[in-house]
């Protein structure tokens, strides 16, 4: 007991963040820092600004410092997999959040049900359109985990034969073209689109602005991720109708918790599915909570877990 606390205090953790830009990155970052502060240990953080090569170098640097555990949020899971493998081979337990790292046996991964989020939001659109209409999608095929969302959408739409996908625009991570421009060209090529399904909130928000600028009232978008920015959009009726809010903070907390468990000789589940809330204007009731993903907070807000 006392001994164990002293032991825990000396843990050294390393955190390799694939990105800190955006609210998801911030929630993850904060989640790790808060959890380590609360549960014990020392944390060294490096961020890679979506640069897989740099993240791989940073993980290599961490491997050399032999931390007791390594936390990873992947900029490109497949590309950093070799570096993560080197960490595991060096005997460092690795805990991943947000996405699976393919082909590598990390100790534990905390993530949302990405397939489910795509499926849920697709159903939402289909129901809102009364089971019939034309939609476009903006997807994120670069990353296997994120691509699951579009798979979920397609699976769901099998039940709605009258919903037609008239256009698809795939984002690339460099952002050479903005999602807004993507949605604008979708709208130009297909003026009769009634809704835009987006694989992440950024596209949903920019898409909503493009729709608004084009004067197409009633066309709406849905997104995935959650956070203050998209909640503001939803509250302000810019056209974003739904965001599948993920619990990034909780993912980070779970990583740190299970790192302690494993270091204490106990087991960690290979995969943990964290809560997702389907946030609409009705759910928000005018508020924009930034801390909805702190464990317990959603219940206080009266939000129901969707997945």
């Amino acid at each position: 007991p006392l001994d164990a606390v002293a032991q825990e205090k000396s843990y050294k953790f390393a955190l390799s963040l694939g990105w800190t830009e955006g609210e998801s990155g911030q929630h993850l970052d904060r989640g790790y820092r808060d959890a380590v502060a609360a549960m014990g240990g020392e944390l060294t953080v490096a961020d890679a600004s979506y640069d897989a090569k740099r993240q791989s170098d940073q993980i290599d640097a961490f491997v050399q410092s032999k931390p007791d555990a390594l936390f990873v949020t992947a900029s490109d899971p497949a590309a950093i997999a070799p570096a993560v493998k080197r960490a595991i081979d060096a005997g460092i337990p690795v805990f991943a959040a947000d996405s699976l790292i393919p082909g590598v046996a990390v100790t534990s991964t905390a993530m949302s049900n990405n397939f489910g989020m795509g499926e849920y939001s697709a159903r939402f659109i289909a129901e809102k359109l009364g089971g019939k209409g034309k939609i476009a999608l903006v997807d994120l095929p670069a990353n296997e985990t994120w691509d699951l969302r579009a798979h979920g959408l397609r699976w769901a739409l099998r039940q709605y034969p009258d919903i037609e996908i008239v256009g698809t625009w795939s984002y690339n991570s460099t952002g050479a073209t903005t999602p807004r421009a993507g949605v604008e060209s979708l709208l130009t090529a297909h003026p009769d689109i009634q809704a835009v399904w987006s694989a992440w909130d950024g596209a949903a928000m920019e898409g909503a602005l493009a729709i608004r600028a084009a004067g197409k009232d009633g066309v709406f978008t849905t997104g995935i991720d959650g956070g203050k920015q998209v909640f503001t959009h939803i509250n302000s009726d810019t056209g974003v109708a739904l965001s599948m809010a993920q619990s990034f903070y909780e993912m980070a907390q779970l990583n740190v918790y299970y790192a302690h468990e494993v270091l204490a000789g106990r087991k960690a589940p290979r995969i943990i599915t964290t809560p997702v809330y389907a946030v609409t204007k009705d759910v928000l009731k005018g508020e924009v909570p930034d801390d909805y993903d702190v464990p317990g907070r959603a219940q206080q807000l009266g939000w129901q877990r969707a997945l």
């Binding site: 830009e21 955006g22 961020d47 600004s49 690339n172 952002g175 709208l187 920019e206 602005l209 600028a213």
Partner: protein
């Protein structure tokens, strides 16, 4: 009165005219092609998208034009624009009125423009290295406001969105802004003594200096104008996206250089009309392929192909080869006859 006045300019050479006509022909051909591929291409709404796309990258290209005219390079403006744009975003999030926020962002980027200008124009540091260095610094500083997180507070309410969305007489604001600034730049460069000084500084700095032109000031001014216009472009991008993020300037670089050089290659001289033509050409092409549903990543190949084509048309070595070849053919003909 002298007879010298009445001799016409001989400088618009045949080759140049052919080059320009060729570009116009390619442009018209492309438009016809796109229009036949998708009837929506020629719609007004698509015209607006072309114009909108043109506005942001075009503004940055206009600024770059000044730097190229004084025969320098600026590789920092994308990052300076990010920094300026983040400053604007930060000020908006802090609740400052839109105008103040924009002025603040412009002022922040002006600092970098001035640093570039002073380092390159006054201290005579090499332009490419200096601007890479200041670009790095500006990029790093852009993270300071929010640790790199996009800033969006108050964006929906501050009115910045209407920078991108507003219309005047049915025409979206960004192209009007672009056009207005382009005209102002053209007047400045071609119709005033200041423009003379910019050109003279670039074409022969020493001779300009001995002619009483404050060449250093003009170099400084060109870097400042470049920073300001690039930031304005970034602010437009940020108005379109509803947020300010640290990479919003990053994609201004290649299109800006491509527009300026495309224009220069075709017109034979760097200038505002050349830059505007270059921008219009590229925006139209990119949009056309976009509307056709060609994936975005073909865009670079298209722009590059056009750039190389334009360079080839304007290339003196190729001209010489073509001339030599036609001479050869002609001499064969005459021998055969």
């Amino acid at each position: 009165m002298s007879k010298a006045i009445f001799q016409r300019p001989v400088q618009l050479s045949l080759g140049r005219v052919v080059t320009i006509l060729l570009l116009v022909a390619i442009y018209v051909g492309a438009v016809v092609f796109f229009a036949s591929a998708n009837e929506r291409f020629l719609s007004w709404s698509n015209g607006q998208s072309i114009l909108r796309h043109m506005s942001a990258s075009g503004l940055a290209a206009l600024g770059l034009t000044f730097v190229i005219i004084v025969r320098q390079y600026d590789l920092s403006f994308p990052w300076v624009a990010s920094f300026g744009g983040m400053t604007t975003g930060f000020l908006i999030a802090q609740g400052f009125p839109l105008a103040a926020a924009i002025v603040g962002g412009l002022a922040a980027s002006l600092v970098f423009g001035a640093i570039n200008g002073i380092a390159v124009g006054l201290m005579r540091l090499p332009d490419i290295i200096t601007s890479i260095a200041t670009g790095s610094i500006a990029f790093g500083l852009a993270y300071l406001y929010s640790n790199g997180v996009s800033i969006y507070d108050n964006f929906l309410t501050s009115g910045i969105l209407s920078l991108n969305d507003a219309r005047i007489a049915g025409v979206p604001l960004p192209p009007l802004l672009f056009l207005g600034i382009a005209i102002a730049c053209w007047v400045l460069l071609e119709r005033t003594r200041f423009g003379r000084a910019f050109h003279a500084t670039g074409e022969n700095r020493t001779s300009a200096y001995y002619s009483g032109i404050r060449v250093r000031s003009y170099v400084v001014a060109s870097f400042c104008i470049c920073a300001l216009l690039a930031t304005l472009a970034a602010i437009l991008v940020s108005a379109g996206g509803g947020q300010a993020d640290v990479r919003m300037g990053a994609n201004l670089m290649m299109p800006a250089y491509a527009s300026v050089f495309l224009g220069t290659a075709v017109f034979g001289r760097t200038g505002i009309p050349a830059t505007v033509a270059g921008t219009l050409f590229m925006s139209t092409l990119l949009n056309g392929f976009n509307v056709m549903g060609v994936p975005f990543y073909y865009g670079d190949a298209i722009v590059s192909g056009v750039l190389i084509l334009a360079l080839s048309i304007a290339n003196p070595v190729i001209h010489a080869h073509v001339r030599a070849m036609s001479d050869l053919l002609r001499s064969r003909d005459s021998r055969g006859a």
